[in-house]
């Protein structure tokens, strides 16, 4: 689905175009030349550990911070020179709930709606509607100090959606949430993209980026160290692995020879009778298993392990570190 506003945008294809963004905090180079191209209508994940420069990057893209070098545009509008236009195109959900703690949920949404130019009546209607769709109606009148972390995040996200912006920034939307609330948040984020919005989300969780994002940029020490689809990133680390646990370690020799013959690769055999072999084409598994049965080799366990983003992350950041120290 295409976002309703997209026809009036200067560049409706690229939601974010950032070139060589740099930000210093005193002597510390928090962001060191970040370049990003984010296509409209996707979920883009920015993945990195604490202090990698994710929030600073988002702050520059959402006009909160002025880059010290480089430039960025949102749907073709410059974040510095055309900041007011950019602000009409984005919704920001900060890492720490960007809602007013002292007010109730309704009052928060009402105020933000009024600031965005809605009339009193429209603002009331909009607030009620958003509270309803985020399951917050019951708690609407309570002050936020009585809200749980998940409720606060939901309200925060609701506040970002008042103007139905075509680009939504979510800075670590699930940090600190319990697993169930986290899954609910994921569903909500997927629905956003369903309605045509582009989402840029930062996360420290690899599985979150893997689950949600169409493309991922891995950031470490202020730089993008890898970029691509989750599949591409995993592929860059290596192929899947076939793991077999034999009933009897004595058969390991025969088994490994069979596998070597079938897959044409070297495999690793542990003393306990566990065989690991790289598996480029998962379609060959059936052949391997049939061959093993023909040799009367009994298996306890069969699994195909694809590399996780954790491994990707460790591999990339590890390589980077080696480069630094080399």
């Amino acid at each position: 689905m295409i976002h309703p506003i997209s026809s009036s945008l200067r560049n409706s294809r690229l939601a974010v175009e950032a070139v060589g963004l740099v930000k210093y905090f005193g002597e510390n180079k928090a962001v060191d030349g970040v370049t990003l191209n984010i296509e409209a209508g996707r979920i883009y994940g920015v993945l990195g550990p604490n202090g990698a420069g994710k929030t600073t990057t988002i702050s520059m893209l959402s006009t909160l911070l002025r880059p010290d070098a480089g430039h960025a545009s949102i749907f073709g509008y410059d974040t510095v020179r055309e900041a007011h236009i950019v602000r009409q195109l984005i919704g920001l959900t900060g890492q720490y709930a960007s809602v007013d703690e002292k007010l109730s949920a309704t009052e928060n949404l009402f105020l933000f709606s009024r600031l965005l130019g809605l009339s009193r009546a429209e603002a009331k209607k909009k607030s009620a509607g958003l509270l309803e769709s985020f399951g917050l109606t019951e708690a609407a009148k309570r002050p936020l100090s009585k809200f749980s972390g998940g409720m606060r995040r939901r309200l925060d996200l609701a506040a970002s959606l008042i103007a139905q912006p075509p680009l939504i920034f979510l800075d670590e939307p699930t940090t600190g949430l319990d697993p169930r609330t986290r899954l609910q948040m994921w569903d909500t984020i997927r629905q956003l993209v369903g309605s045509g919005s582009t989402v840029l989300l930062t996360t420290q969780y690899l599985d979150e980026a893997d689950q949600l994002a169409d493309r991922i940029a891995v950031i470490d020490t202020g730089r993008v160290i890898a970029e691509g689809t989750p599949a591409e990133l995993k592929a860059s680390v290596g192929v899947a692995a076939l793991e077999l646990q034999l009933r009897s370690a004595a058969q390991a020799q025969t088994a490994s020879e069979t596998i070597r013959h079938m897959l044409r690769v070297e495999c690793h055999v542990s003393p306990e009778g566990r065989i690991t072999a790289p598996l480029a084409d998962p379609g060959l598994i059936t052949d391997v298993l049939l061959a093993l049965r023909n040799h009367h080799i009994d298996l306890l366990e069969v699994s195909v392990k694809s590399p996780t983003l954790d491994e990707v992350f460790m591999a990339i950041t590890g390589k980077e570190k080696q480069k630094v120290y080399a």
């Binding site: 009036s8 909160l64 002025r66 509008y77 236009i85 009409q88 919704g91 720490y96 960007s98 002292k102």
Partner: protein, 259 residues
């Protein structure tokens, strides 16, 4: 559909919305108003009975001098909290959202300052009520009191931009409080608010005569006690305007860069 910058009408509406936010917060935490409630009552009682005999011979003769002085002092003390409030607010996540919204940059500041009008009104009402109870009857009557109230509230609104700048610059609420008190104390006490100027040593007298607070106090006294709108009234208005011209751009720019 996409606009380059907010219009004047939008700026006003957004500032008023932010002011409404300030009032909502007062409703949830009415203890914010303790300073502007307790101080006018306590100071009026304290200073009048403490200095009345020494300066004017008796309390009744001192009232026309001290009530304008207390009014000026209390209202300026009420104005400094804006800095602390802004600092606390800006340290919270919600200000990130305000800054990411397509609203006029001045709106969060102007709104907070506008909301403080309720504080200034409270100071004015309480000071005059205390004066009335103690026997003060201004020559200018209720009309004069209304003009004076408008004058002090406008002046407080101007001065609060100075303290707003302190709030935007300061690193923490505590440091903002400290800076503001350092500005406030010399300005209010080294003026003609409590004592006649001719009792002061010459260096100090020079400072007191040029202190804008002295002009404000004199303007109030002339208005209330002589029903006169004199030079000091106009000087106070010009002074307020100068403060606005200097501090609004300075504060808004600093806020945009730093916040």
């Amino acid at each position: 559909m996409l606009s380059k910058r907010p219009t004047a009408a939008q700026t006003v509406q957004q500032s008023l919305t932010m002011a409404y936010r300030g009032l909502l917060k007062v409703r949830y935490t009415p203890e914010q108003l303790v300073d502007v409630t307790v101080q006018p009552i306590l100071f009026t009682l304290m200073f009048t009975y403490l200095f009345g005999g020494a300066i004017s011979g008796n309390v009744q003769n001192y009232l026309p001098i001290i009530i304008p002085g207390i009014l000026a002092q209390s209202i300026l003390t009420g104005a400094i909290t804006i800095g602390v409030q802004l600092r606390e607010d800006m340290d919270k996540g919600v200000f990130d959202r305000f800054r990411s919204l397509p609203i006029a940059r001045i709106a969060p500041l102007a709104g907070a300052l506008l909301a403080d009008t309720i504080r200034y009104a409270l100071v004015t009402i309480l000071t005059f009520t205390m004066g009335y109870i103690m026997g003060y009857r201004p020559v200018a009557g209720l009309g004069g009191v209304a003009v004076v109230s408008a004058l002090v509230i406008c002046f407080a609104w101007c001065v609060s931009w100075i303290f707003a700048l302190a709030g935007v610059i300061g690193r923490s609420a505590a440091s903002v409080q400290g800076i503001s008190m350092m500005i406030l104390f010399p300005l209010t006490f080294l003026s003609n608010a409590f004592v006649p100027v001719n009792t002061l040593p010459s260096g100090l007298r020079w400072f007191v005569q040029y202190n804008p607070v002295s002009h404000l106090v004199t303007a109030i006294r002339e208005l209330l006690n002589q029903k006169v709108i004199g030079t000091d009234f106009w000087l106070t208005i010009v002074g307020g305007a100068v403060i606005l011209l200097v501090f609004i751009p300075l504060t808004v720019r600093t806020y945009m860069r730093k916040a």
